[in-house]
């Protein structure tokens, strides 16, 4: 077909849009949609895309890098450190167990030991892209299944470095002969002795950590100050590209580096801003990656030996599943969590493409063997969502335990999410009080100086414009119970209110307002929880004045409560009255009129009804009257 970039772009985009929306309508994961699109546009169905599929794959792998950067952003160094045992333990058991079983399998099938070893390495790795995408889509990251999957995948990301270093040792040919085939993987450090290589790897990790703290964050602050939004997108990509390049330089996996960079930045105030900036790109690139996987399924190879391929495919999925189930069992996961883990990581991952073609380049694998394994890899990835559906619809309902019922009590603070917009004097008081009750609100503020200062004081504050849907979404509005708007800018509260009404009507919206005038406006837009910043403070002052004059405090307290109720009622009553066209020139005059209206009402109704309880004079009067009567 035509090699025009425009044409290819149109094919990919159209394929994605059509197939993903069909998959979504059928209630399936978007991954299936992308894979199907890849198969359709690939060389064996419509043939829009030929061998360029593999080049696209290289580009699309960048989606995985961005994804790991984003995952890193969500994991703070503290949590990462807490997870170290699960990462090494679960990951080690999974990789070791799978390698052992698949090595036995391929030896039994009559493969040479070197080939068997390389293939078993590839088989041990699962697909971060598919597994994490599905976990995130279902919102299961917080579950033990989610964190176990993540730990295992992370361990695989680390172990793959050693695998890539180990494979050349299996090569029969000397290094110079294979150089042309492995040019992709040569790097700066190849000539160096092993000690220096290790040193530079450690050094580059240190570079990422130090640069994250002292270079990237200050840069982001400068960028934020300019207020030019697209600069932030540019900065985000600069970070990810920079880390990837550095990692490739020293021969580490770019995904691992990106993950580290993400962890370093997860403590910064730009966490949510970076997330919301990269999220759409990530999804699209991952989509591209899945399509490339779909397109790379070589149907001719399948047609040549369908039974062999089908048999090995099933055997691999089963043996991976068994190892995962045992791993889950050793780490005491509940039955449903074990099943989820088993089903979601039982595929061969994208690293297999890298490992296999690397080994092929070193002449360890033959063309046939590589083609077969690539097909099996692509097929196993395509099968994952289907296995997941079978587990979810047919197996899990029978095992009796349900995800939602299993959440322990201490997760309440986590599941009942609060978003606090605006962290000035008003918002910070709210934040402090919530925090004193163990409720950590997600705080958004657009003043990067203040954000910086407050973060130094130990608050979790993020920089960004809260009226943007994507920022609210990455702050977690979808799972939020309450959004608090603690700024008195009516434009902000109106914009957020609109987003909530249209997209997240289940979220409670609680708003600070400057005055009665703004309160009218918000009331008329259907907002219920409105807090006028001046009402209670001014009444407290008035109460103290009256107390100093000799009025009793308890009585004043009750009167203040009565007054607030009365004032709220009349506010709501007056807001329903038809209003003239708003004219800002007359706004001041109108406010005076409003005040007059209120004062008149105060007199007409008698500001507060007097309590009769405990009033012995009143009782005495009534008693005397009845005596006389």
């Amino acid at each position: 077909m035509t090699g025009s970039i425009l044409f290819e772009a149109i094919v990919f985009l159209a394929g994605a849009i059509i197939c993903v929306s069909i998959a979504k309508r059928l209630g399936l994961s978007s991954v299936i949609g992308y894979l199907l699109a890849g198969v359709l546009i690939g060389p064996y169905v419509f043939g829009f895309i030929g061998t360029e599929g593999e080049d696209i794959m290289h580009f699309a792998e960048f989606g995985v890098v961005v994804m790991l950067f984003l995952i890193g952003l969500e994991i703070e160094p503290k949590n990462f450190w807490n997870m170290r045992k699960t990462i090494v333990g679960m990951g080690g058991i999974q990789v070791g167990g799978t390698m052992l079983l698949s090595y036995i399998l391929f030896t039994v099938l009559g493969f040479e030991w070197k080939v068997g070893l390389v293939i078993s390495m590839a088989v041990a790795l699962s697909s971060t892209a598919i597994a994490m995408q599905t976990i995130k889509e279902k919102g299961l990251m917080e579950t033990t299944f989610g964190s176990s999957s993540f730990s295992i995948l992370l361990f695989q990301d680390i172990i793959v470095i050693f695998m890539l270093g180990f494979i050349p040792l299996l090569s029969n040919t000397d290094a110079s002969a294979s150089a042309e085939n492995v040019s992709d993987h040569t790097n700066l450090l190849d000539g160096l002795p092993l000690g220096l290589q290790t040193l530079s790897i450690i050094l580059s990790v240190v570079v990422i950590i130090v640069a994250g703290r002292y270079l990237i964050v200050p840069m982001l602050r400068k960028v934020a100050k300019t207020g030019v939004r697209e600069l932030l997108i540019a900065a985000a990509f600069l970070i990810v590209f920079g880390i990837s390049l550095l990692m490739e330089f020293v021969g580490l996996s770019p995904a691992l580096g990106a993950f580290l960079g993400g962890v370093v930045l997860s403590n910064s105030e730009f966490k949510h801003e970076l997330e919301s900036t990269l999220e759409p790109f990530k999804n699209l690139m991952l989509g591209l990656f899945f399509m490339a996987v779909g397109a790379s399924i070589n149907f001719i190879v399948i047609a040549n030996s369908p039974l062999e391929i089908g048999g090995i495919l099933v055997a691999i999925i089963i043996l991976k599943g068994i190892v995962l189930y045992i791993t889950g069992h050793i780490f005491k996961l509940k039955l449903d969590q074990k099943l989820l883990l088993t089903c979601s990581l039982a595929q061969i991952g994208e690293f297999a493409f890298v490992l296999l073609s690397f080994a092929f380049g070193l002449n360890i694998l033959e063309q046939e063997q590589m083609d077969m394994m690539l097909v099996i890899t692509a097929l196993s990835m395509s099968l994952t969502p289907i296995i997941g559906i079978i587990n979810e619809r047919f197996i899990l309902p029978r095992t009796g335990t349900k995800e939602s019922l299993k959440r322990p009590m201490d997760h309440i603070a986590k599941t009942q999410k609060i978003i606090l917009v605006g962290f000035g004097h008003f918002g910070s008081t709210i934040g402090r009080f919530l925090r004193s009750h163990g409720v950590e609100a997600t705080i958004l503020d657009h003043d990067s100086n203040r954000v910086d200062f407050l973060r130094k004081m130990g608050f979790e504050v993020y920089y960004g414009d809260a009226t943007r849907l994507d920022l609210l979404e990455s702050a977690g509005i979808a799972e939020a119970k309450i959004v608090i708007c603690a700024t008195n800018k009516i434009s902000v509260s109106k914009a957020i209110g609109k987003i909530i009404k249209e997209k997240y009507p289940h979220v409670e919206f609680m708003i600070r307002t400057k005055n009665r005038y703004d309160a009218y406006e918000l009331l008329n837009l259907g907002n219920e929880n409105i807090y006028r910043e001046s009402l209670e403070t001014s009444l407290t002052l008035a109460k103290d004045v009256l107390s100093k004059m000799g009025f009793r405090k308890y009585t004043l307290n009750r009167q203040v409560q009565n007054f607030i109720k009365y004032d709220e009622d009349s506010l709501r009553r007056l807001s329903q009255e038809p209003k003239d066209e708003k004219n800002y020139i007359f706004k001041a005059k109108k406010e005076l009129e409003q005040q007059e209206k209120f004062l008149n009402e105060d007199f007409k109704r008698g500001i507060v009804e007097y309590d009769n309880h405990w009033d012995s004079e009143h009782i005495r009067k009534v008693l005397n009257k009845t005596k006389k009567g």
Partner: protein, 198 residues
Amino acid sequence: MKKILILFSHPKFEKSRANTILVDHVKNKEGVTFHDLYEKYPDFHINVKAEKELLEQHDVIIWHHPFYWYSCPPLMKQWIDMVLEFGWAYGPNTNALESKTCLNVITTGGSKELYCSQGSNSFTVNQFLRPFEQTANLCGMTYFPPFAVMGTHNLDDEDLINHAKQYSDLIDLLQQDYTLGDFNGCAFLNDIPELNNA
């Protein structure tokens, strides 16, 4: 001289003629701490630590309150609930309040005749005050009979002033370590001979 603590509870003091007159006669006496609970804790947020310290500094505790619905006002009940803690006021090995004296000073709208088995209130004031008596007992305090100004709806200012003077005299007696064994069989401190000799 014994130190006297008057814990005064009245949600609508400004409207009470009887209690205004009573309080005026005692609140500024030497050695008397007049503690106005509704003014101190209008939001019912009692400072338990401060209240305990106050109790420790005094020998005689007076619960001064109007008698409404046969009991005390809610803030005073709140005070009892919060301040008289287990492990401090009562319970094993506690003696914070031991050997202190405690009594109720009350005002009632209805007259004494209504508070008996034949009257419309069916029970005597002393019977209604049993929970307070037992509270004091449990805390190891000596509970005295109440000082009660009754039938306030029918009393004029002059009557009330006389009651108030008697209240003041009672405080004087209590300051001199008043330890009457049997109160001469009086159900009310108002009736003891020491306050009726003049």
